[in-house]
Symmetry: C2
Subunit: 226 residues, 2 copies
DNA sequence: TTTAGTAGTTATGTTCTACATTTTAAAAGT
DNA sequence: ACTTTTAAAATGTAGAACATAACTACTAAA
């Protein structure tokens, strides 16, 4: 008969202080540049040692949510989203299931990216893509670096900064999964060159179909795996 | 003529220790569950105080990269990717451009999700979707909660845990953007009900087209905005 | 009057010590 | 052989002390 019994406060002080501060930040309507109380004041207000407060603050510093200068104190700042992501996405540490998840995530992104591309594409973008494809033909095909250059450029073209940064984050994961499963990179019937041609003169729908065909082998592998 | 001049080591000890540990983790080929040296040993090896080590470790704890138990010590574990994202994505702090970026990201995800859905769908999933749609018709249409239930279920169906968590993360952003721009939720010609029907009896291609149509108003808005 | 320099103050950065807490493992007792 | 007790080893927390950097104000020299 232990229903309803829950641990009082299983979490560590640092964790609780982190939560408190997060709430404090949210409710305080802070803008970047706004000053914060000193460590000592926070410690006193929260009833914990300065040490614990510093551990919590250290976390926010890592996320780029606060910045510190001696004597001046601490101020709120803009969090570094991508930098933070990079810190978590260490392929060496993640288990295979998570890597697989991220691989699928990347696949989904590329399958759905067509509309954004056609909204934002410029002649200059097309030129760059053509350059990339030209280099591919000269060198050896299907190399992972070509993949990175080509698909990376696509993400960049979306004009969406977050998505672009996302791509750079997902790249190592992509390579990792490829290395694990196939030892080499595969491509569908539609090549990069074809995709560029469609992007230049074709329609959105044609590009969607083209990209689907290009990525088909990967999707097929998922289907088999299931 | 100050080119090439850079600060010697502006970073704090905690930051440097964090970097060292990250390198140590990467090179050590650690798998989840592998034990780590004690705080004292790390402090000694790095030549810093235990306090600094603890601040760095605290950061890894927040990211879910390490877990600690008393006496047992610390072990490597699977980083909590989405949880970390949530910690950085405090809407109060994000600027509007980032919110817009995330909105587009969500759009792209849903436009590219079709293949995964058809790979993983089960009769039970379809039933649940039909239930959700049925409740929609009874209540008022186009409510944001219906959107959440419906699209959320789609993410869940992918069988991709990371993607599913991503959805819950992106939801508030979606609502935020909606509130900012339209004050109400809009839908294309294809309704949720139509989508469920296609998912049940149609083809992947039909579903792709259907989803594109369903989300068309949003894509159009992006096009205008540009 | 302006400038340079100097001292003092304050908040973060770092170290050290001590003790609490929890959990494992050994030791002791039945 | 089994249970209980005790000890240890690791993290968790606290507090004090000093180092360091940066801002302030005052002072002295040009």
């Amino acid at each position: 008969m232990l229903n309803g019994i829950k641990p009082i406060a299983a979490k560590s002080m640092a964790e609780r202080v982190e939560a408190s501060l997060r709430e404090y930040f949210a409710k305080g309507n802070f803008k970047p540049g706004d000053p914060l109380p000193t460590e000592l004041e926070l410690a006193a207000a929260l009833g914990v040692s300065r040490n614990v407060v510093r551990e919590a603050l250290s976390r926010f510093k890592m996320l780029g949510i606060i910045e510190t200068k001696k004597k001046t104190g601490m101020v709120i700042s803009n969090p570094d989203i991508v930098g933070t992501f990079q810190k978590v996405l260490t392929p060496e540490i993640m288990d295979e299931a998570t890597l697989q998840d991220l691989f699928e995530l990347r696949l989904v992104l590329e399958l759905g990216i067509a509309d954004l591309l056609f909204i934002h594409k410029t002649p200059k973008d097309i030129e760059e893509l053509e350059d990339i494809v030209a280099r591919e033909v000269k060198g050896d095909n299907f190399r992972i670096n070509n993949e990175i250059a080509f698909h990376g450029k696509l993400y960049e073209m979306t004009g969406n900064e977050t998505m672009k940064q996302f791509q750079t984050l997902l790249l190592p994961v992509f390579g990792y999964v490829m290395k694990l499963e196939n030892k080499k990179y595969v491509s569908g019937e539609i090549t990069h060159k074809d995709l560029v041609r469609i992007l230049k003169k074709g329609t959105v729908q044609e590009f969607k179909d083209g990209m689907a065909s290009h990525l088909q082998p990967h999707v097929d592998r998922l289907r088999q795996k299931k």
